[in-house]
């Protein structure tokens, strides 16, 4: 058990110009916390994790584990366990040997290793497979062995690098819940890397969003969804993505296709002096209204039926350009393709405004 902190830690790859894969990352992870690092590919999330593991140099700043500066400590001295995306099981060892390898290296007695491996195997439903080699296991079983290898060591921090991305969709959802429950039970500090924002939202106590090596925001899933710090986080968190459009702003509100969406006085004050703002609204905060009511004209271009609800993609004219919007509607009465519908903001408290150039949230 330990807390983890990144203190302005950077990883710079030489080149011309040098690439700052992770740029002055500062992050505090509490003891027992499940923190998810999320971001698109190339955002530096895996590099950040590998820096913590000791597999990547820390070029600037420092990393502390359990209050101890580990910046220059090799991986074996950091008391961490890692689950790799490829699982990286040792092909020439059985499942039991794989799981007990770290303990064997530490010189733990054979009987104790056996007991610990069996306990972990029971927890992960692997007892039957202990004598098999990894190549005789299915993908899901291999994933569990990789988890088991980490658990058996009882490290102070678990590091997981996209451990679910090689599983099929159904197994992924199942394993997602299992990992979260297991972490809850063991209470071990866990840093989890994923590119999947659904995984991030469902598993993490807190989620850190990275982009281009820079930390965008680190907060609880709820807070990320409700109050994204900038347009990138707003667009990245939530599925389908938030509608983000640059629209003209007047003293009454934001101007969309002839409709003026009224904004609070504070919001207008925050946007003070700007002609345009980035206007963000989630598909679930929009709704289709009867044709007589006030709303934006939208031509339906695509309907994705998900069962419980449906996602309607359509074009709305803003200024001279036609912009795509996504609206979440009731799954039983979706509009048909090519239909003209009226779309209105259902919940005015769910409007997000961002600076059109910097993307920063305009606090309202």
């Amino acid at each position: 058990m330990a807390e983890v902190s990144y203190v302005k830690a950077s990883r710079v790859f030489s080149g011309n110009p040098p690439v700052r894969a992770v740029d002055e990352l500062s992050l505090e992870v509490a003891d027992g916390e499940f923190l998810v690092l999320v971001g698109p590919s190339g955002s530096g999330k895996s590099t950040a994790l590998r820096m913590l593991a000791g597999l990547e140099d820390i070029d600037e700043g420092a990393i502390h584990i359990g209050g101890k500066d580990v910046t220059n400590v090799p991986p074996k001295g950091r008391d961490i366990a890692m689950v790799f995306q490829s699982y990286a099981l040792y092909p020439h060892m059985t499942v039991a040997e794989n799981m007990g390898f770290a303990l064997k290296l530490r010189g733990v007695a054979k009987t104790e290793i056996k007991a610990k491996v069996e306990e972990a195997a029971k927890m992960l439903d692997l007892t039957k497979y202990l004598e098999r080699k990894p190549k005789a296991l299915s993908g899901g079983q291999r994933q569990r062995v990789a988890m088991g290898r980490a658990i058996v060591r009882e490290p102070s921090v678990f590091l997981m690098d996209e451990p679910l991305s090689n599983l099929d969709a159904k197994l992924r959802v199942e394993t997602r819940a299992n990992i979260a429950a297991l972490q809850q039970r063991l209470g071990t500090t866990t840093i989890y890397v994923t590119h999947d924002q659904v995984e991030a939202m469902t598993m993490g106590h807190r989620v850190a969003v990275l982009k281009d090596g820079l930390l965008q925001q680190c907060d609880t899933p709820r807070a990320l969804y409700d109050r994204p710090a900038n347009a990138f986080v707003a667009g990245f968190i939530g599925s389908p993505a938030m509608n983000l459009k640059t629209v003209p702003i007047t003293s009454e509100g934001a101007k969309l296709d002839g409709v003026i969406v009224p904004l609070s006085r504070d919001a207008i004050a925050a946007a003070g002096g700007l002609d345009e703002v980035t206007f963000g609204i989630r598909p679930e905060a929009l709704g289709i209204v009867p044709s007589g009511e006030e709303g934006m004209e939208m031509t339906v271009e695509l309907v994705e039926e998900l069962g419980a609800d449906a996602l309607v993609h359509g074009a709305v004219k803003i200024g001279d350009a036609s912009q795509r919007f996504v609206v979440r509607v009731d799954g039983r009465t979706p509009p048909t393709l090519g239909q003209h519908v009226k779309v209105a903001v259902r919940d005015h408290s769910e409007i997000h405004l961002f600076h059109p150039e910097t993307g920063e949230r305009l606090e309202a």
């Binding site: 074996k76 040792y90 290898r149």
Partner: protein
């Protein structure tokens, strides 16, 4: 269960059409004849050496060769008893030199191959290029400079000197071979090992080496053969004393200026081939695996 014979026949009769994997009779005969012919050509010289090894020297070369003519095991007993030169000492020298070349050569090329596969260091490209370049020189060109180096090192005439010379031939090839093999082992395995508590050398020794067994077997075989049958370096660098010769050099005593002891030469040749066959037998399981790996990933 009862089988209806007639119904089986009916199925057979209607199923005349050739299946995808079937061959016509003519094609089958031609194929087997060609394979048998090729095998005979390959095996015949070895077979004839064996036949000759059983004959006395006088009967070895005849105007009308016979399969057996006064055949006996006398040649073998005379070669092994040391009557015709110190065969057993030569044999011991060869085994020692070949094994040392194998062990030292494989160890050096495994560490070098691993470094080339995993690490980025200045001069890596130059190193690999020089390994390729070295192999392009004919042996004859190398004898004089290597001789000078050995004298300078005081290793002239010693077994270890010859082992080092053989390593210069074996290491470049083996390094290339093993680098290719290590490249197929995912780097994630190394990292998992590091996290599990291994030192960098521990990763190499406890994870990568066991995983590279097929590749190691192939390189070991190559290094062994490099040393086992080599004549030019061995006759140039070993001392002229009879007891320090290797087999390949020693066999020359059977070929003298005016007369060649064919029977003894053949018997000795058969004896020389045995260790090579044994080594091949031990590693052949890995050979196909090792040579084929890397062709297709996974």
């Amino acid at each position: 269960m009862t089988l209806d014979a007639s119904s089986l026949q009916v199925v057979k009769a209607t199923d005349r059409r050739l299946r995808r994997t079937d061959r016509s009779k003519g094609a089958s005969i031609a194929l087997h004849a060609a394979l048998i012919g090729a095998s005979a050509i390959a095996v015949f010289p070895v077979f004839w050496v064996f036949i000759t090894s059983l004959k006395p020297d006088a009967r070895a070369v005849e105007p009308t060769p016979k399969l057996f003519n006064e055949s006996s095991l006398d040649n073998y007993t005379r070669v092994l008893s040391g009557e015709k030169g110190d065969f057993l000492a030569w044999f011991g020298n060869s085994v020692l030199i070949a094994l040392m070349t194998t062990v030292i050569g494989v160890f050096i090329s495994a560490t070098a191959g691993y470094a080339a596969s995993r690490f980025r260091f200045p001069g890596k490209r130059g190193l690999m290029m020089s390994f390729l370049l070295v192999q392009m020189f004919p042996f004859a060109v190398l004898i004089v400079p290597l001789y000078n180096i050995l004298i300078a090192l005081g290793l002239n005439g010693t077994s270890i000197g010859l082992v080092l010379v053989y390593c210069t031939t074996a290491v470049p090839f083996c390094t290339y071979m093993l680098k290719g093999y290590f490249d197929t082992v995912p780097a994630d395995i190394d990292e998992a090992g590091r996290v599990d508590g291994l030192s960098p050398f521990g990763v190499f020794w406890r994870l990568i080496m066991p995983l590279a067994k097929p590749g190691l077997a192939v390189t070991a075989f190559y290094a062994f053969l490099t040393a086992w049958g080599e004549v030019a370096f061995a006759s140039a660098f070993l001392s002229a004393a009879d007891e320090s010769k290797t087999l390949a050099v020693g066999l020359q005593v059977f070929v003298q200026q005016n007369r060649t002891e064919w029977g003894h030469l053949a018997a000795a040749s058969i004896l020389v081939a045995i260790p090579a066959i044994v080594v091949f037998y031990l590693v052949q399981r890995f050979l196909v695996q090792g040579l084929a790996s890397g062709a297709v990933k996974g």
